[in-house]
């Protein structure tokens, strides 16, 4: 186990390093720069800016400097949000996204798993078909539609919920709903099909033959086996949800990290692009690692080597 963890750790560091390197050179290969605008600033002003942030150095020198700095935990200043450090932006905005994201992961698990099971247990009946239809809609309807519709209905027409920012608990309802809509639907479908699969297995027949009660056979045998695909899905889904959604945050004016990912790229804010990418990559690698450990706990047959 220890050997496994060390091996995974080395792989993780290597993965993040490769991601950082590729991103660094790719983003610099894209045309444009952080100081381009409809009204161009003068060449002198641009030169002064580039000198200030070291963008006038050869690309490889910039790369070496950046890599050296991040080893010291220095992610540099944002090139666009003058006066703010990349790490400060990430550390103030990530908790906001994580709060909204964490709630929606919880909602999608609490709703998705039981509903998926119910559908599987009632296969072919009206309740199953209803769940399937709703889940399909959930997967097909993009989040901006969910956002706009709920905002129009509950915010503008009914006036029940506020539409801007995160001032009170009421502000959380619509974004969490919008954010959990797709994963809930996905988990329902996933849960349903893997539950159906598990229910048809030999060990279930054996359990029943041995006289194990229906509840025990369902929860102890079927659910435990059926939940593995959900765990696989929830890992990366969690990384994405916790780091925020560009659309949901934009629509509900949530000061989260989701918007930074996209705007840093359109702004060519190189420092922010690197910072957010490395952050997401690290989170992703970490969550995948946790998922592997959880696998082992759920299914002791899995060999961590």
């Amino acid at each position: 186990m220890t050997k496994y963890i060390i091996k995974r750790l080395v792989m993780a560091i290597l993965t993040v390093f490769i991601v950082a390197t590729l991103t660094f050179f790719l983003m610099n290969a894209v045309p444009g720069g952080p100081y381009e605008a409809e009204k161009s600033i003068s060449p002198q002003a641009k030169a002064a800016l580039e000198a200030k942030f070291g963008l006038d150095q050869p690309l490889f020198t910039q790369y070496l400097t950046y890599m050296k700095n991040i080893l010291h935990g220095d992610f540099g200043p944002s090139l666009k949000q003058r006066g703010r450090e990349v790490i400060d932006i990430i550390l103030t905005k990530f908790p906001v996204s994580a709060k909204v994201g964490g709630l929606s992961v919880l909602v999608s698990l609490i709703v998705g798993i039981p509903v998926g099971c119910i559908a599987a247990l009632n296969r072919g009946k009206a309740s199953d078909s209803t769940i399937i239809v709703i889940a399909t809609i959930g997967i097909a309807v993009p989040s901006f539609v969910v956002c706009s519709l709920s905002m129009y209905l509950f915010g503008v027409k009914l006036g029940w919920l506020p539409t801007v920012g995160l001032m009170s608990w009421k502000n959380y309802i619509m974004p969490v709903f919008a954010l959990s809509f797709y994963p809930t639907a996905y988990i329902v479908r996933l849960m349903r099909s893997s539950m159906l699969d598990a229910l048809g297995q030999d060990y279930m027949r054996t359990a029943r033959a041995k006289g194990v009660s229906e509840t025990v056979s369902l929860f102890k045998h079927a659910l435990r086996n059926a939940i593995l695909p959900v765990v696989t899905y929830v890992g990366p889904m969690m990384a994405y949800t916790l780091t925020g959604s560009f659309i949901v945050e934009k629509v509900f004016t949530i000061p989260g990290l989701g918007g930074e990912f996209v705007s840093s790229i359109t702004n060519r804010d190189y420092m922010m692009i690197m910072g957010t990418t490395i952050f997401l990559a690290t989170l992703m690698v970490f969550i995948n690692f946790v998922v592997d450990i959880v696998y082992k706990i759920i299914d002791p047959r899995i060999n961590l080597k």
């Binding site: 045309p31 381009e36 002064a48 905002m151 503008v156 949530i254 359109t266």
Partner: protein, 540 residues
């Protein structure tokens, strides 16, 4: 046991998350909620180059001079000011008893420090040369060849600020009222570096309002500055700037009453808002125009450029395609630019009549004739010119491109549209790496030089690579003369030449369209695209 433990843990997490969700919302009193744009990139006056940031800076800082409700230069920190006969020395007399928002004394040396800071290349101020170019030694200071202390600004005493210019600048007062040249507090800037402007604790300002809360991506709260000289005229206790990025979201906030003013209105709502008295369309000084790359065939022939300009039905573009949120442009310089000789530059242009006739049928016939004269078919039946039109995809750009495709087909041009991502688009256009492209400019101040000089051969924003010695000569005269009439004549002559040779193709004048609740009184909108809320009030 294990199961109940998991349940309890889950419940705990939920509770923690829910409690974390409450809180926020403080600061009482009469607070006006407005939306003028998303999170500003910076609120450091020297570093700002954006309109929304500039709009907030107008409320937190006060320059030497300001612009009043009628667009005229008015006293700011300076009560009186005068220039020498030759226009090279400007003396500003500050009000007595001025203070910073933290209560410390404000003197003329604060202006000296702030202006030197803008010129210092280490500050890397994007607008430095736009606002300081005429000031003595600016070029050398900005190039790093001289110390910032050599800049031609001085404070002979606490109440007097003197600027020495190396060249006369007829619109210097406009520059002295420009947000980039707002005074900043030396103590906080030197203590906190660039970060002074991101935290309310270190944000010391001298304007009618001061920042008390800034949640990036959510809102900024500015409260009345108790140390502002004219505080008795301020009726609001504060302004809350909602940093909404999405226009549908800002529209919802307006409908629910969470905002009483929004700048970003979804274009698809415009038809339904046209008869709403709270919906305003106000002109600003700026023009949506097209660049035809003058270094490339067939655009090196001015007859082709002119024909392409004439083939556009501007009333249709502005009124129908752009839903009346733009105004058809038959000149390059639209209404609102100040004629140096007095009056409106637009009204005095071309003897008072538009350069391009609004009779579209006649224009189209002339366009076809011009194309034939230039040796092309000029007819839909023989598309003998192939061009590519580049634009980014936002606002009306794409539908305008589709319209141009139709319009230019009538004069024998086969146009394909190339959509380029925003951040790549502007450098590509600047490099002249395109055939035809959209462009636009909104004035920083009302002197016509701010926009017409875009077409000067060596101007950094001359994306069309227009190079006309007569035009350049007219601009040169306008720059060197101190005689307002001669200067006015030179600028008008420049526009005459530009329009005669179709150096660029004006399409429409910009406007600001916004929703303003009828509850608000005492606010106004300026033709530079700013809203002034400082003297506003609203009924509950």
């Amino acid at each position: 046991m294990k199961k109940s433990f998991i349940l309890i843990a889950l419940a705990l997490v939920c509770c923690m998350l829910m409690t974390a969700c409450t809180g926020g919302a403080k600061s009482g009193g009469k607070i006006l909620n407005v939306q003028v744009g998303p999170d500003p990139e910076t609120l450091d006056p020297a570093l700002n180059s954006a309109v929304d940031g500039g709009n907030m800076l107008l409320h937190t800082f006060e320059c030497l001079l300001t612009v009043d409700q009628n667009g005229a230069i008015a006293p700011g920190c300076a009560e009186k000011w005068e220039s020498s006969e030759d226009g090279l020395t400007w003396t500003f007399h500050l009000r007595k008893g001025l203070k910073w928002s933290d209560g410390s004394a404000f003197t003329a040396s604060d202006f000296v420090y702030s202006w030197q800071r803008v010129a210092d290349p280490a500050t890397a101020a994007p607008y430095a040369d736009t606002v300081l170019w005429p000031v003595e030694n600016f070029d050398a200071v900005f190039a790093g060849e001289m110390a910032p202390s050599e800049l031609g600004v001085s404070a002979p005493d606490d109440q007097t600020f003197v600027v020495k210019l190396s060249a006369a600048c007829p619109y210097f007062e406009s520059l002295a009222a420009f947000a980039t040249l707002s005074p900043v507090n030396k103590a906080t800037v030197e203590k906190n570096g660039d970060a002074w402007a991101v935290s309310p604790d270190t944000y010391v300002s001298n304007g009618p309002f001061m920042i008390t809360e800034w949640v990036p991506g959510s809102h900024i709260v500015t409260m009345k500055n108790p140390n502002y000289w004219n505080k008795d005229a301020i009726k609001l206790d504060g302004i809350k700037w909602l940093l909404i990025e999405d226009s549908n979201a800002s529209y919802s906030a307006y409908q629910t009453g969470e905002a009483l003013f929004i700048k970003d209105v979804p274009t698809e709502e415009i038809p339904s808002l046209m008869n709403n008295p709270e919906f305003h369309i106000d002109p600003i000084i700026g023009t949506y125009y097209l660049n035809l790359n003058c270094t490339k065939e067939p655009f090196n022939d001015e007859r082709v450029r002119k024909a392409m300009s004439l083939a556009i039905d501007r009333d249709y573009v502005a009124g129908t395609i752009m839903q009346g949120t733009y105004v058809a442009a038959y000149n390059f310089m639209g209404p609102g630019w100040a004629d140096p000789a007095g009056g409106d530059f637009y009204a005095n242009a071309n003897g008072g009549k538009p350069y391009i006739s609004s009779d579209y049928e006649a224009n189209l016939a002339e366009a076809k004739a011009l194309m034939q004269e230039a040796g092309y078919s000029g007819s839909e039946d023989n598309l003998d010119i192939k061009i590519t039109y580049s634009t980014n995809d936002s606002g009306y750009h794409k539908v305008v491109a589709e319209y141009l495709q139709q319009a230019w087909k009538q004069i024998g041009i086969d146009m394909s549209v190339e959509i380029v991502e925003w951040a790549s688009f502007t450098p590509m256009r600047r490099a002249g790496d395109y055939m035809a492209a959209r462009n636009g400019w909104v004035g920083d101040y009302s002197d016509p030089s701010n926009m017409i000089e875009l077409l000067y051969s060596s101007n950094g924003n001359n994306d069309g690579k227009y190079n006309n010695p007569d035009f350049d000569a007219a601009i040169d005269i306008s720059r060197s003369t101190m005689d307002v009439n001669e200067r006015s004549a030179a600028l008008h002559q420049a526009e005459d030449i530009l329009m005669e040779t179709a150096g660029c193709v004006p399409v429409a004048y910009y406007t600001d369209f916004y929703l303003q609740s009828s509850k608000i009184t005492g606010m106004w909108h300026s033709p530079y695209g700013y809203w002034y809320f400082m003297y506003a009030d609203f009924s509950e």
